[in-house]
Point group: C2
Chain length 158, copies 2
């Protein structure tokens, strides 16, 4: 079990793209997403994982992750997970000793880009690069489990 402390931001502009050190593509879905926990199946680079997260909204939550067979993951995504599935590329950007993970979404969430930073302690200070925009850590709409139910393309534009 690990405790995650995450901060989530929108992007102010595209300047981050020049600093990308690596990228990885994810296809994932949620078996369940309820008051106490969410359960995710994720495929990346022909490997698959089952992930359980406690659903504490905010900066801290518990997480458990187990590798599962790729064939099982494909079946579970197709037959048991909520739709739409989440498809995204995660770009890694190093900035002053911190690693930013920038998720660029496709499919029903096309157009959405979100940057996350994971800290080892709630009090840890970090620098916000100029390309970081508004913080959305506490906005449930940006949680991937919610994007699998109410995707970005379905949000009202008012």
């Amino acid at each position: 079990m690990a405790i995650e402390i995450e901060h989530k931001f929108l992007l102010a502009n595209d300047d981050w793209r020049q600093w990308v050190s690596s990228s990885v593509t994810y296809k994932q879905g949620y078996l369940s997403s309820q008051a106490t926990s969410s359960i995710r199946v994720r495929i990346s680079n022909d490997k698959a994982w089952l992930n359980i997260k406690s659903a504490t909204i905010g900066t801290q939550r518990h997480e458990y992750e187990y590798e599962i067979p790729l064939a099982d993951a494909n079946e579970i995504l197709d037959t048991l997970c909520n739709k739409p599935l989440i498809e995204k590329t995660r770009h890694f950007v190093n900035n002053n000793g911190n690693t930013w993970e920038i998720d660029e979404f496709y499919g029903d969430n096309q157009g959405l880009i979100v940057a996350e930073i994971e800290l080892s302690a709630t009090a840890q200070v970090f620098e916000k690069p100029d390309w970081i925009g508004a913080e959305v850590t506490h906005d449930r709409r940006y949680y991937n489990n919610n994007l699998a139910v109410q995707p970005y393309s379905a949000w009202s534009t008012d």
Copy 2:
């Protein structure tokens, strides 16, 4: 992935106890139990498993099972699973080439005993011993995920 074909019965009397070949104790809970699937954590003999079942009511459903660390399972049962947890002893009884699994419940489901037989094909014929009572395969109340929400002790006695 395996397809399960199960039939579930109440017990007519206690005669089955003389034929028990082995017994095992389970402590389990549900992370989720919804329209499409249920997700169970089970501890038995100091080992733990995460199990995903499609929620088809009736005799057939898909099932996936993965071993997970015992310490994780204890944490997940304590902090993330629905309460009450399910505690039961499963007794195995061989009868005319078939194995019956007889679940004797404790805790909030004390007093409930249910017999299950698992078949390899829907058309497979099986003999019902005299100690087998009414069939409850299609009665959702007897599903373990429902016993974790509406336990036997809370059922109306009318």
